[in-house]
């Protein structure tokens, strides 16, 4: 996963904390505000299980799971489970209510006809939300994404995830069938031409089994999951308006993560990782991939791309995407589009799309 959430997390709950008045001028101050927070530098090794856990020295980070699922009849579903952490001030984590972290959770279930979602918030320091590295557990309220109790020490290899909202809930088991993938240069993932970056790794090889309950109806599902971990302190430029992010599972076992940041003043920034079926990552040059909207749709009073054309020249990829449910709008306090997609063209498979800043 990419920078996608940094923007909205900043504008979101915590925008008031940094007093960003608008997209245009608000982010200019981010560099200054980041003073005192840890800085993302190239060459810093990513270490497990330590880096599964939280990084209080950095301003923001997230644990992000999406999954493309199917029921016994072959109908498509998607789920999302996300936990964000945002610190309002640098320095040692303070105890109790004085703790400077605010946590936000988003969860969603999408089918061809429904998109149900929920959000929740928590202050740090009291235990309502948090993340531990070993054994790995990320939680907010009764939403939980953690190493299974029956597989202690398995890290991200054997996991369970659960969440619920007013009309839905899910409990899923995840088993990793491949290794963790570091994006960019050994996990150092550039986000702009002027060197802003984040630490970023994924586990894109989850096999998922479990039960969704949608408006009281139980659905047994199975499919593929993708987990992202990313943390940073000053990842965006002032003029970056939003982003479009894809994670794709190909039928031959290969994976692709690709994103573009839309910039008002420049041609923007894009990057990605082509992941071999054995987990070998290959960072894509910024000119290697082309992300182009083919149609537009109006949703929640905004105009968003509908179908996309994706090309990765170095791998001969040329596909056209379709949404499982175009109405996958996350009308949370800070809203965006996130949902499962299918595609056809040179490659077959399924994936997830996120579009923000529209």
């Amino acid at each position: 996963m990419s920078v996608r959430h940094i923007l909205f997390i900043l504008v979101a709950v915590l925008a008031p904390l940094i007093r960003t008045a608008s997209f245009a001028d608000g982010f200019a101050g981010l560099g200054d505000e980041a003073k005192g927070f840890a800085v993302v530098t190239a060459g810093t090794p990513i270490i497990f299980p330590r880096d599964f856990g939280a990084h209080p020295g950095f301003r923001t980070e997230w644990w992000y799971l999406t999954a493309n699922l199917e029921d016994s009849s072959g109908a498509s579903y998607g789920i999302q489970w996300t936990l964000f952490r945002q610190a309002s001030a640098p320095g040692k984590e303070r105890k109790g209510w004085a703790n400077q972290n605010v946590w936000m959770g988003h969860a969603a279930v999408t089918s061809g006809t429904e998109h149900l979602f929920a959000e929740t918030f928590a202050r740090g320091g009291v235990g309502q939300a948090g993340v531990t590295a070993e054994p790995f557990a990320a939680w907010i309220d009764d939403w939980r994404f953690a190493t299974r109790d029956d597989a202690p020490g398995a890290g991200l290899a054997r996991m369970t995830v659960s969440a619920n909202g007013a009309d839905f809930r899910y409990t899923l088991d995840l088993a990793a069938e491949g290794s963790i993938v570091l994006h960019g240069k050994d996990g150092f993932s550039l986000k702009s031409d002027d060197g802003r970056a984040s630490y970023y790794f994924s586990q894109p090889f989850f096999k998922v089994d479990g039960v969704l309950v949608i408006r009281g109806r139980e659905v047994k599902v199975s499919g593929l999951g993708w987990m992202d971990r990313e943390w940073s302190s000053q990842p965006l430029t002032a003029t970056e308006k939003g982003w479009d992010w894809f994670s794709l599972h190909f039928s031959n076992g290969e994976k692709l993560m690709v994103f573009r940041l839309r910039d008002e003043t420049t041609r923007g920034f894009s990057a990605g990782t082509w992941i071999g079926a054995d987990g070998t990552p290959q960072a894509l040059d910024r000119d290697d991939s082309v992300l182009k909207p083919l149609s537009e749709m109006t949703l929640a009073g905004r105009i968003l791309p509908g179908r996309w054309r994706l090309q990765v020249r170095s791998h001969g990829l040329d596909i056209e995407t379709t949404m499982v449910n175009p109405d996958s709008w996350m009308a949370t306090r800070f809203s965006y589009w996130e949902g499962p997609i299918g595609f056809r063209g040179t490659h077959q498979g399924k994936g997830y799309l996120e579009m923000t800043g529209y």
Partner: protein, 822 residues
């Protein structure tokens, strides 16, 4: 249409010729509206304040979870509940003192706070950030800011030395409360990791376990609206009392309207007859009269509503102070009223004047065209009204008796009072007539016979004003006796209850041992009496359980209504409890009956060993041995101490305590200061009642004056013949004055027993229903004498000007009466 217009103009011209009558009508209507709408303004305003205060916890259907045994619980329970799927938000409430004044401090957690509840407090760009980021913010209303005598952005230091976050004033904030972040509240209140309430809006998730599975019996879900109903229920009787007063005053005002309009009708009979004779239809006449009345009601009503606003604004500080002192209910200091209030005030004026003038309109409609408009005819008609009125009066008394024997509750009690007062007022003309008939019977001289007969003849015209006087006087007697009785009882009770010389509270549990050890070493302290308190609910009612030491001091002085032979022994052994009168009445407890109290480890059964008066306390109270309390609720802090010492050692002891322990003790004061404070609350509570009482009497005075003035012209026709047969003007004036005094004296003679009956109703029925305690009934002869004097003075003051006018009248004018006779 034109005909109706000119009829209207002709009718209205009457008021130009009779400005005093018009003045009486206008003032009566305006005063009635003012008193009613003023009282309603106070009630509405207070209720709006309660709703705002309740809204942080109950807005938009939010619910509360509170510690079962009151006080606070560990915030771990909050985390446990969240992790179990309950969408709760923690709150910590407490009290801080700033420059000796108490303020309610509320710690909230804005991130989890249901949006509906939190928006008013922490809304807008940057507000959440500023609220959370050290040093945070303290949100108050502009009125509270003034009460704090502070400016925005200032960080106040509370008594005890801790600093609050910088102030931010918001009009939408909670009246009387200081809202801070929960972390700040925990630090300031010295209750680390404690919470006193959880609120939630969203239901728990479908898979969430029940509350008891997560929290055992430590927490309790507050039934919907209990929160709001608590303060509303507690204050309801207060507002009902106000409403009853407003209604009574309003009624007296409408008596004026009735009298003034009735007289105007009488004076206009000739005009009406002439208009009918020249072809104005009864319908047109009624339309014109209705138009006249409606216009008058709107103009006078508007003036009345305006005056009502001013009255409410003037009484608001006293009302706010007494509500705060008695119930801890905070009322915003600025009157803000709904447009509906203005409209309903005008509505009362229009409807009231229609009802008050209805009789006149009815008569105008059915008036035979050529009816001779003679006072004698009028009197005959009035005689019929007298009987009709008396029948109504008898019905009122009957209603009183029915309510007395069969009625229950506060409304029945007020119904009883209304029946008694109205019944007595309506019977008054009949009673007066009886007295005057007796006088007539025993009079032997012609002039005396004329005097009595003339008094009787005057009665119908004066009866309405006299009824108003009767109502005002009896209310005066009744309320006066109640307030005086309360003052006497309350003072005596305070003396018995407050026997210790020094009182103080301790900030935290840790300090108590240290302070006790220090006190034990002081030779001047002869007794250390600790007290601790927890809040529970019994039968849905908020109850304080107070732990006390059954010390000699209490055994000898603590006031009791009734007790078993060994009440204090039972208390000491942990078998018995003392129960407040209110609680005993509410739960129907008698000496020897048992009570199950929810304690930390199950139910605790206790025997009632004594019942004590607890005047003015809206909550129930149960007093038990302090050691037993600490065993039953181990986490209860020891919060208060009373000390026995020689009175002259008091200032030095207080100084020494403050120097030694500083911020660890709070609210330290001596006996005299507490008595003063209690009496001040008491005085302010009755200030509103006293003001309304006085206004009612004033209205009655105006009614009398209006009557005498308007009757003046009619009187000439009756006095002229007596003058013509040789009685001097001065003699006639003396007789006129005597007549007024006689009627006032007889009225006040009736008002006294009526007032005492009212007082008895108030102390023995209304008070018990409204507040749960009964006051001893006292009669204060001096007060009664005062009331009679006041009645005579009012009547004399009202009569003196018309009589002076009569004395100064020229013989020519008197002689003219014969020429002008209708």
């Amino acid at each position: 249409m034109t005909q109706a217009f000119w009829t209207f103009i002709a009718l209205v011209s009457h008021w130009r010729r009779h400005p005093v009558n018009f003045g009486a009508l206008f003032v009566g209507l305006a005063i009635a509206t003012a008193l009613w709408s003023g009282v309603q303004a106070l009630n509405e305003h207070a209720r709006a304040s309660y709703d705002r205060a309740a809204s942080i916890f109950g807005a938009g259907g939010a619910r509360s979870i509170v510690p079962t045994r009151g006080g606070s619980v560990s915030q771990d329970l909050f985390v446990k509940l969240r992790l179990a799927g309950w969408k709760v938000s923690p709150v910590l409430e407490g009290t801080v003192r700033i420059h000796g004044k108490r303020f309610r401090l509320i710690g909230i957690e804005p991130v989890t706070l249901p949006r509906e509840a939190g928006v008013a407090v922490v809304a807008g760009e940057g507000a959440l950030g500023a609220f959370l980021k050290p040093p945070g913010r303290m949100i108050v209303t502009p009125e509270t800011l003034r009460e704090l005598s502070a400016a925005e952005s200032v960080a106040i230091v509370i008594d005890g030395g801790k600093t609050l976050p910088p102030i931010e004033a918001l009009a939408a904030a909670l009246p009387g409360a200081l809202v801070v972040d929960i972390g700040v509240a925990q630090a300031v209140l010295n209750r680390p990791e404690q919470i006193s309430r959880l609120i939630f809006k969203e239901p728990p998730s479908a898979v969430a376990p029940p509350l008891a599975t997560v929290a055992g019996d430590a927490l309790r879900l507050v039934p919907p609206r209990e929160e709001e109903s608590d303060i509303r229920r507690l204050t309801e009787s207060f507002h009902l009392n106000l409403t009853a007063f407003g209604l009574l005053a309003c009624l007296v005002g409408f008596f004026i309207v009735h009298a003034a309009f009735g007289l105007a009708f009488e004076q206009r009979l000739a005009m009406v007859r002439t208009m009918r004779a020249v072809g104005v239809s009864a319908r047109t006449l009624i339309v014109a009269m209705l138009g006249e009345l409606a216009l008058l009601a709107l103009v006078a009503g508007s003036a009345g509503v305006g005056a009502g606003y001013l009255l409410a604004a003037a009484l608001l500080p006293d009302m706010a102070a007494s509500l705060d002192g008695l119930y801890g209910a905070r009322v915003a200091g600025q009157l803000a009223l709904d447009p509906m209030w203005w409209i309903s005030g005008l509505g009362i004026a229009v409807i009231g004047s229609l009802v008050a003038a209805g009789g006149g309109l009815f008569k105008a409609f059915y008036l035979p065209v050529l009816m001779a408009a003679q006072p004698f005819a009028w009197r005959q008609v009035q005689q019929k009204f007298l009987w009709r009125r008396s029948v109504l009066g008898a019905l009122g008394i009957a209603a009183f008796l029915v309510a007395h024997f069969y009625g229950k509750g506060l409304y029945a009690a007020f119904g009883m009072i209304a029946g008694l007062l109205l019944g007595a007022a309506l019977l008054l003309p009949l009673l007066l007539d009886g007295v005057l008939r007796l006088g007539e019977k025993y009079a032997s001289q012609p002039l005396a016979q004329w005097f009595w007969a003339d008094c009787r003849q005057q009665l119908p015209g004066l009866s309405l004003a006299l009824m108003a006087l009767l109502l005002a006087l009896s209310t005066n007697v009744g309320v006066g006796a109640m307030v005086e009785g309360f003052r006497k009882t309350f003072t005596q009770w305070l003396d018995e209850r407050l026997v210790a010389e020094v009182y103080f509270e301790v900030a935290g549990n840790a300090e108590t041992q240290q302070i006790e050890a220090w006190l034990e070493k002081r030779p001047e302290v002869s007794a250390i009496l600790p007290m601790s308190k927890i809040k529970i609910r019994l039968g849905g009612w908020p109850v304080d359980i107070v732990g006390m030491k059954p010390h000699e001091t209490y055994r000898n002085h603590f006031p009791m209504l009734s007790e078993t032979g060994d009440a204090w022994g039972e208390l000491q052994r942990g078998e018995g409890a003392l129960v407040s009168e209110q609680l005993a009445r509410r739960l129907d407890l008698a000496l020897g009956s048992t009570l199950d109290v929810p304690a930390a480890d199950g139910q605790w059964r206790v025997r009632i060993a004594g019942i004590f008066p607890d005047y003015g306390n809206p909550k129930g109270q149960l007093r038990i041995d302090i050691d037993r309390l600490m065993r039953l609720w181990p986490e209860t802090p020891r919060m208060g101490y009373s000390l026995r010492t020689a009175p002259k050692a008091v200032p030095e002891l207080i100084d020494a305590l403050q120097t030694e322990f500083g911020q660890q003790i709070s609210q330290i004061s001596d006996q005299a200061a507490i008595k003063n404070l209690s009496m001040r609350i008491f005085e302010r509570t009755f200030a509103v009642t006293a003001a309304l009482n006085l206004l009612t009497l004033l209205v009655a005075g105006i009614a009398l004056l209006a009557n005498f003035l308007t009757l003046g012209n009619v009187r000439l026709a009756q006095l002229a013949p007596v003058w013509a047969v040789g009685v001097s003007r001065m003699r006639l004036a003396q007789l006129e004055f005597l007549r007024v005094l006689l009627l006032a004296a007889v009225t006040s003679a009736f008002a006294l027993p009526l007032g005492l009956a009212l007082a008895w109703q108030l102390v023995a029925v209304v008070n018990v229903q409204a507040f749960g305690w009964r006051l001893p009934f006292h009669v204060f002869p001096a007060q009664l004498g005062q009331t009679v004097a006041l009645a005579l003075l009012t009547a004399a003051a009202a009569a003196i000007w018309p009589i002076i006018r009569f004395v100064r009248i020229t013989p020519a004018a008197l002689a003219k009466v014969f020429a002008n006779e209708r």
